[in-house]
Symmetry: C2
Subunit: 137 residues, 2 copies
Amino acid sequence: MLCYEVLHAKGYRLTPQRILVLKTIYHADNHISAEEIYEQLHDRFPYINKSTIYRILELLSGLKLVTESNLGDGCIRYHAAIKGHHHHLICRICGKVIDLEESTLGPLKASMLRDYGFDADLRHMVISGVCSDCRSS
Amino acid sequence: MLCYEVLHAKGYRLTPQRILVLKTIYHADNHISAEEIYEQLHDRFPYINKSTIYRILELLSGLKLVTESNLGDGCIRYHAAIKGHHHHLICRICGKVIDLEESTLGPLKASMLRDYGFDADLRHMVISGVCSDCRSS
DNA sequence: GTTGCAAATGCAACTTGTTGCATTTGCAAG
DNA sequence: CTTGCAAATGCAACAAGTTGCATTTGCAAC
Ligand SMILES: [Zn+2]
Ligand SMILES: [Zn+2]
Ligand SMILES: [Zn+2]
Ligand SMILES: [Zn+2]
């Protein structure tokens, strides 16, 4: 897996805990929370500590190996960056989630750069609002 | 203050705690956190309870009397909606904050509506990235 | 001004996430 | 295969935010 090489190249150790967290995020169907990662791993490997999980997630996020997103359920959720980027529209009435291609926000990124010289990090945005079904009723 | 009328019109009681929280947010120079509101109020009115503050903020936010935003310092910060809306670009290198007029994201809002029928709530976005100064160095 | 009662608050226990520090360990060098 | 040591982890205490429930109170009706 490419992630291991990134860690090694930047001088970070390849510990069993880091490998387990990376595998858990990679194999998760959807976006997974720190708590869920901890629960899954602690069942099989009781020696794994909660604070270690949080520190590993902070590291992986800083290295951009995983993306963080706040889907509005009160916790940060993680996603393997290697699986690609995308955005979410979340309906605040019915909770439905619409996924957007990363490229959808290309014009926005370009206008930020042109007007403000600001290189916006738009890899995994979450936008709240009301979906078409809920608007018509 | 208009906020009181909104509360009354929707059938919510006008309690001393709610009035104090509204005044504190309105008179805050910048975006203020729940913890800061609690500290300021608890100094002068020791009977005020922490959980009450959090519940009031949740209510005011739901009624759109205040806007929530995560400026990346680990807590949600609040802003009086009556003072107007805007967006923030935050540089992840130097921490500088660039404020945007609400209208800047008008085209984005329009394209969400046109392409997905989604009425996006873009009143107070926070976008992370790298500012022009930090990019040139 | 009383009264009645649902709404709001205070309290305390709890959950979730963070931090400082002692111990352990990945891994590079010999 | 050892050794050395900075990096990483485990632990326990802590901070921030949430929840259930008993008590209090805003306020509308009389
Ligand atoms: Zn996503
Ligand atoms: Zn909906
Ligand atoms: Zn703001
Ligand atoms: Zn900068």
